[in-house]
Every structure is written in structure tokens, then in C-alpha cells.
Symmetry: C2
DNA sequence: GCAAAAGTGTTCCGACTACACCCATGC
DNA sequence: GCATGGGTGTAGTCGGAACACTTTTGC
């Protein structure tokens, strides 16, 4: 077939060269939490094609030569939104021989578009990344990001085939991250009230994941939140203390298993 | 540069075609546990090249057209060992512009080999998989697997650059999997003693992770180990009961967070 | 005063730790 | 008997769940 067969038979050692070549797609599951409206949002991109039906997918791009995977993931972010404070990590690598177009065709009975060398058998590899951004900074860039919008997680429109898997996996990661890592503080403002932390957690994990007062004391007992002394009043009720995440105090706990719920 | 720029600017939607192409390597971190000698082993492959120094790497291969990532990972397994009972899952996708050859060159001051189109800038993507196999079945295949051998984790020789990262990550995953999933029972014999389970855990997690009697009662309380009624005597001492993993009893617990230590 | 939100304290209970102790076998 | 490994039981302790209660604000 190709010369990798010869190569493999001759050497039987670490692969060096001779494999088939693939396009590598990076797709981001980008989440944000709107505390005021108490909901989780995901960034979607409209697929515009020759048909009249709009379908949606996660923002993605092809990896370029000389570009790292993470760099490609960052590039996706910066092309869509203007977020400075974000958390980004690799999610999973999906493969699939069902091309995105596969889905389009099967649903709409259209002839294949004349995209040149694109075929239904065109294999693809999607390295997906998980991102969480501050909602204040989650504004979509005007120019060049047409057809990009935030969707509440419970109102996500039908996605092109493989993006559903990525979104499911990403949401699962989001919940796990909240429970086992301090990722929440990367995406909260510099100073925040404990109630805001609680709002973030309930928006993602549901109302009944924990009692507020227990959540509160557990969080404080961990010892990496420092009281700024400042108070802030949000409408009626007693003013809340503003806290700050203390990275130095967290340092020794970094590699310990910890439950944040 | 390439036509993906045009494509991106024109459409700003889901990627369809036009990216650069990459060779995709799949590399497996394959572990096994020798209960008798009480140690964890990893499968390494010797890199044979033009120099006189042997370096080692993890068994890997290039993904072929029409082959899924997981299929490639399985192919690596079947080319090296004859294991029927194994656990396999994706680990992480590494990228790197330091080609394996990069390392060889920098250490040994050799001129680049004439491998044709292979350059130091040759980018590569390595999708790594984590595997755990039964030690009884972990015998290396004779023909075609020359230069393949098991190494105890604490005696691993220097690996070619990027394989170290994969091995580290794989070992971390192994420990996590033992603690939070019943993966141990996929790799133990059909029936086993509780002491064997404990041996497996201590070999991986260290001697002091838990007291045997507490480990024992915690494990039994979970309720998915059924006593076969059979006893087995290993030398001196009271004979041990043989247990069996009860998949039906475990089913309802599958998605619950659980600690197995 | 009253509602609303923040913050504190207290009781109950299950789970994990650290042992001590009993049981069955080989020699 | 006695060493060896398997198996059981228990007292102490820690931490989370549930919930009552207090504090401080707006109106």
C-alpha cells in the first residue's frame, strides 16, 4: 500500500516516518456562567452552507504547520471573543469517519457539494479543548465572528454530528472541574462574595448539590480564601464580605485530592 | 499561505477542508502488575538506529487511512503481546516540534540520517493510550516483536524525549484509575483472593496507602464482589476465599463517584 | 417592623483509622 | 506448638448533612 508497511516490517521500532497524513481539527467547548440569569452558556458557531437550514457546531479550526495544538485552541478563542481571563485544557481526541457533511447530507437529501477533494470517507481527527471564561469578558467580537453566539445549555440547537459528543464530554468535564479543582476562581472576578461562588456552583451542578451554609464553611476551612475586609451590598439583605483567592495559600494543596462541593 | 486562509475568511464557520496535513502517531503506555514480584511493569521498545547507542520508547505506530485511533492502539497491542484481557483508554494528545530524531541528534552528535523528507521541523501529533494487561497474558510475542521488553517502573532506562511525558502521565492515570474505578478487576484472574487485590493495590500505590483489614471491609461493603465459596491455599496460613467480580451488582454504581482504596 | 440575604452554631450520624483479636493451615 | 497469612470486631475520631438561629441591611 504505502511505504510504512515496508518501514514497519524492516525496523519494528519507534515510528519515524511513513504514515498517512491527516488534517487535524481543534474544536473548543467554551463555557461561561451567567450568574445573574443563573445559567451555563456554551459558544456555538453557525454552519452556513448551500442549504437553507442552519446547523450549529462548536468553534473550531484546522491546525497549521508549526502551530501547537494549544496554540490553535487559543487562536480559536481570540478569533471569537475578547476574553483575557480564561481556563483552557485539552479534553479528548475524537476521530470519526462520519464527516460533518455526512450528517448534512443524510438529513437533507442534497447531492454532495462540489468541495473538491472532500468526500464522505474523508477521515478527520478532532482534538477538543475545554474552556471556561468570565461572563463579563465573554462578549463576542463583532468583526469576523458573524454567526457566533452563546446558547444556554438547556437550549442548545441540534449540532452537527460529532460536536454533540464533544459538548457532552465538555460539560461533564466542567462539572468535574468544579468539584475537584479551584477552576471557579479563575473565572470569578478578582474579589467576590461567597454567595457568588455558590451561585456559580449551583448554576453548573444544580440547586441541590449542597446546602449554602455547609458549602460556605467547607470552602472557608480549606484556607485559601482571604477576607478583604470590604463589604458589598447587593440590594436588600446584609452586605456580603468580599473574598480573594490566595494563590500562595493554595500552593501546598495543589496536588492533593480535594472536594470543593 | 494555503487556501485555508481564504476559506476561513470567506466562511467563518465550521472547518470543512483546507488544513495542513500531519502524521498521527499513536503511542501506548502499557502497564502490567506482577503480583509475585510485587512490581509494576511497562512495555518498552528499543529504538534501533544507525548509532551504537540503544534508546527506548513506548510502542507506537502511525495511524493509517481509514483506521480509527482506538483501532491503531489495539493494533499496537496485538503486534507486541498476546493479551486477551486488557483495559485500554485514551490518555492525552501530545504535540511537539522536537522530533524523536531531534533527541538522538543532540545526544550523539551524528549527522541527520538520510530518511528522505524527515526533518527536525517535522511536526508530529501523538495520541497516547493507556493500557493495563494481565501479567499472565503479558508474554511478548516472539516473531515481529524483537526489541520489546517489560521494564519495572523503577528501572526504566532513558526514553527518547517525548515518551517520558507519556509514561509519567500514564502512571498517574494508572494510580487514579485504581483509586476511582474498578479497573483492577479487569486485569485480575476470573476468581481471586482479596489479598491478591490488596497486593495489586500496594504494588501500584505503595505499601502505606491503607491497612489490609480496612481495605478488605471497604471493598466488601461496596457489594460487587461475590464469594465463590471456593478456598485456595497459598503456602502456609489459612486458605483464602476466592471472589468474583459481579458486573450486575456493579452496574448501578457505575456512574457514582467511588473510592476504592 | 418586616423581608431578605449573610453568616454562625449545634446536633446527629455515618465512615474511616487504628488497632486488637480470632481462625485455619503447613511444618 | 508455632509461624504465617486470612478474616472479624471494636473504640475513637473526624467530617459532612441538616437545620435552627443570629446579624445586618433595604424598605
Amino acid at each position: 500500500m504505502n511505504d510504512y508497511l515496508l518501514k514497519n516490517d524492516r525496523d519494528r521500532d519507534c515510528p519515524t516516518d511513513g504514515g498517512d497524513r491527516f488534517q487535524i481539527e481543534v474544536d473548543n467547548a467554551i463555557f461561561s456562567v451567567d450568574l445573574d440569569r443563573h445559567r451555563v452558556l456554551v459558544l456555538l458557531v453557525r454552519q452556513r452552507n448551500s442549504s437553507r437550514f442552519d446547523r450549529w457546531c462548536l468553534p473550531g479550526t484546522f491546525v497549521r504547520l508549526g502551530e501547537s495544538l494549544e496554540a490553535a485552541a487559543h487562536r480559536i478563542m481570540s478569533e471569537r471573543i475578547r476574553a483575557r481571563n480564561l481556563y483552557l485544557e485539552q479534553l479528548y481526541t475524537f476521530d470519526g469517519h462520519s464527516d460533518p457533511l455526512d450528517d448534512r447530507l443524510s438529513h437533507q437529501q442534497l447531492p454532495p457539494p462540489d468541495d473538491g477533494n472532500l468526500t464522505l470517507e474523508n477521515p478527520y481527527i478532532s482534538v477538543s479543548y475545554f474552556a471556561l471564561v468570565r461572563w463579563d469578558e465573554a462578549r463576542i467580537m463583532g468583526e469576523g465572528a458573524i454567526g457566533t453566539s452563546w446558547y444556554p445549555l438547556n437550549q442548545v440547537p441540534p449540532l452537527i454530528a460529532n460536536y454533540d459528543r464533544i459538548l457532552q464530554y465538555g460539560y461533564k468535564r466542567l462539572r468535574n472541574k468544579l468539584e475537584y479543582s479551584p477552576v471557579a476562581f479563575e473565572v470569578l472576578p478578582e474579589t467576590f462574595t461567597l454567595s457568588e461562588v455558590y451561585q456559580l456552583y449551583t448554576a453548573v451542578l444544580g440547586e441541590d448539590f449542597s446546602d449554602y451554609s455547609n458549602f460556605r464553611s467547607r470552602l472557608l476551612k480549606l484556607g485559601f480564601l482571604s477576607d478583604t475586609g470590604q463589604k458589598v451590598s447587593r440590594g436588600a439583605g446584609r452586605p456580603a464580605s468580599l473574598y480573594r483567592f490566595d494563590a500562595r495559600a493554595f500552593e501546598p494543596l495543589k496536588d492533593k485530592p480535594m472536594v470543593f462541593i
